[in-house]
Amino acid sequence: MVSVQSPPGGREVPYARVLLLPAILMAAATGAAVATVPEPARMAVGLCGGIGALMVLGVAVEAVRRGRTVKRLHRQYADRLAYLERRVALYDAQTEHIGKQLLPDTLYRVQQGESPAEAMRVVIDQNPDYRDLPDPQRKLLRTVLDILERGEAMRDATASAFVHIARRVQAIVHQQSVELREMEEDHGRTPEVFDDLLRLDHGTALIGRLADSVAVLGGSRPGRQWPKPVPLYSVLRGAMSRILDYHRVDLESIAKVAVNGISVEPVIHACAELLDNATRYSPPQTRVHVTAVEVQTGIAIEIEDGGVSLSEEGRKRAETMLAEAQEGMDLQSLSETPRLGLAVVGRLSAMYNMQVSLRQSAYGGVRAVLIVPRDMLTGAPAPALAHGIGASAVPRVDNDGNPIQELERAPKKRRPTSGPPTPLSALEDDIPVVTEWTATGLPQRRSRNKTPLAERYAEARAAKEREAAEARAAEARAAIPGQRQAPPPREPEKEEPAPGLWVEAFMNGLKGGGDQQGTPGAVESKPRADDYSTEDEGDLK
C-alpha cells in the first residue's frame, strides 16, 4: 500500500551533472546571441547572457537542492508511517492476546484464590512469550485483577456472613429441639400439651432445615455431628421429621446398615430436601415411597412420588441445576431458582461424593436416587432401629442371671415444669377435709357448697314460686295491650316483693296507667321477660 518511490539511497546524482545541461544551454544561447547581435551590442549582450546563465544556474541549484530535501523528507515520513503501522498492528495483537488468553488465565487463577501478584508472576513472568509485556498493559491487567479480587473477597464475606447467621439459627434451633424433647418427656401424660409440643417441635425442625440449607449454600458443611453411627432407618426418619408432609412418606425395606456419625447430617439433609421436593410436587393424597438397597458403590436411596411426570425437558433442567450446584453455584443465581432444594442437594452431593439422579418413576412421578458411597457407611453395630431403644430396652441380665445395673441417668438441667394447675375441686375430691364430727364419732363431711342442704332447698322453692308469680303477671300484662307500649325503667337494687303482692301491683297498674313510678309494686310487676334469669341468679348468690 505504501509505495516508496524514492530512488535507492546512496545513489545521489552529483550536482555537476545536473547543472551541466542548463549551463551548456545558457552558454550556447549566450554565444548565439552574441554572434547574431551587431558589434557594438556584443559586449552588453555577452554580459547579460553571462548574468542570466549564472542566475539560471543558481535557480537550478536551489531547485535541485529543494527537490532532494523533499525526497528525503518523503522517505522519512514513509518510514515513520510504516513503523507506526507496525506498532499499531502489534498493539492490536497484544490486546487481543490479553483479552483472549492472559486475562482469562489470570482471572481463573485469582478466582481459585491466588493473589493478583501471584497470578501475574505465574502467567506472565514465567512465560518467555509474555515476559516483555509493556508496562501499561501490565498495569491494566493488575487493575482488573485487583478489582476482581476485591469482588471475590466481598462475595466471600457475604457468604460467610450468611453462614454465620445460619449457624446461629442452627444453634438456637438445636437448643430448642433439645428442650422441646425434654418438655415432651415432662408432659408425656397430658396428651393435649404433648400434641401441641409435637407441633412446635415439627415447626422448629422445619426452621432448622432452612437454616441448614442457607449454611450449605453459603459453602459450609453441615455443622451438626452425631457421636455414634446411626442406622439408616433412623437417618431416613430424621429426614422425614424435617419436612412438612412427613406422614405421606412410607419407609419400605430399608437396608440394615448404619451411617457414620460424621456423615449422618449430610445424608439427612440431602434426603430431606429430596423428600420435600417429592411431597411438594405431588398431589397431597398420594404417598411417597422410600426404599434403600445396597449396591456396589454403597447404598441407593430411592424416593418415588406419584406426582406429575417429569418431562425430558424438565429432567434436563433439573439435572442442569444439580450439575451447576455441584460445580459451585453463585448465590446470585439462586434468586432465579426458587427451588432451593435441588441446589442444596447438588452442593451436598458434590461435597460428599454422593450421586443424585432424577428419573421418571414407574408410578408416573419422579424417582430420585441418591447413592451414598460406602465410605460414609459403617460396619459397626448400630443401636436398634426403634426410636430411643438401645440395648437396654428390657431389663438385662448377665451370664449368671444377675440383673445388670444400667447407667444412672444424668441429672437434668432444666427444672421440669409442673403440669397444668390441678383444679382445687379435684384435690378436694381426693382428700376430703374433715372438719366436724358427728355425735356418734363419724366424720362429718362438709359439702362443697357452704350453705346447708335445707337452706338450698328452701331457696330453690322460693325461686320457683317467684317464677310462677311473675309468669302469671306477664300473662295479665299480655291481656292489656296499652301496658306494653311504655315499659317503666326498672330500679336495679330493689327488694323482691313477697309472693302475692302482684295482685296489688296489678291493680295499681290498672288504675295508674301513666304514673307507674309512684308505686314500687307496679314497677316490679313489669320487668322485661329476659331479666328474670339474671335476677334469679343474683338472688341465689
Binding site: S177, V178, R181, E182, E184, E185, D186, H187, G188, R189, T190, P191, E192, F194, D195, L198, R199, D201, H202, A205, W226, P227, K228, V230, Y233, S234, V235, R237, G238, M240, S241, Y246, H247, V264, I268, P383, A384, L385, A386, H387, G388, I389, G390, A393, V394, R409, A410, K412, K413, R414, P416, S418, T422, D429, S447, L453
Partner: protein
Amino acid sequence: MTPPQRERRAPQPGTEQDPGRLYVITGGTDGTQRAPLDLVALIVARSEAPPTAAPEQTALLKLCKRPLSVAEISAYLGLPFSVVTVLVTELLAADLVESRAPVVRSALPERSLLEAVMHGLQKL
C-alpha cells in the same frame, strides 16, 4: 401445699441418638385418635409383629408377650406416655394387642348421688 415433684425421665444430654423426632412416630395425630388408656392399663400382644410394622410397634409387641402396663412399656421403650398410647391405639385398631382396662373412674357412681344416699340414711 405443693404437690410432690416426680422425678421425671429426661433424655441424657449430649447422647441423643436418634435424629427422628417423636411426631414421626405418632404420625401427626391430632390427639383425638387416642384410646382412653390409663397408665396402669395392661397390654397383651395377641400375635407376632407383621413385617410392615414400625420398629417401635415391633418392639412393643415383643415386650408385651406377657401383660405389661402402659407405664412399663413407656419406661422400657423410652418413649413418653402419649406416644405409647398412640402406638397402642394403632395396634388395638389392627387387633394385634388387647388392652385390659383397669376400673374406669367414670364408672363409679357420682358423688352427689352418694351424698344424697348418705343424707337419706342419716334422716332415717
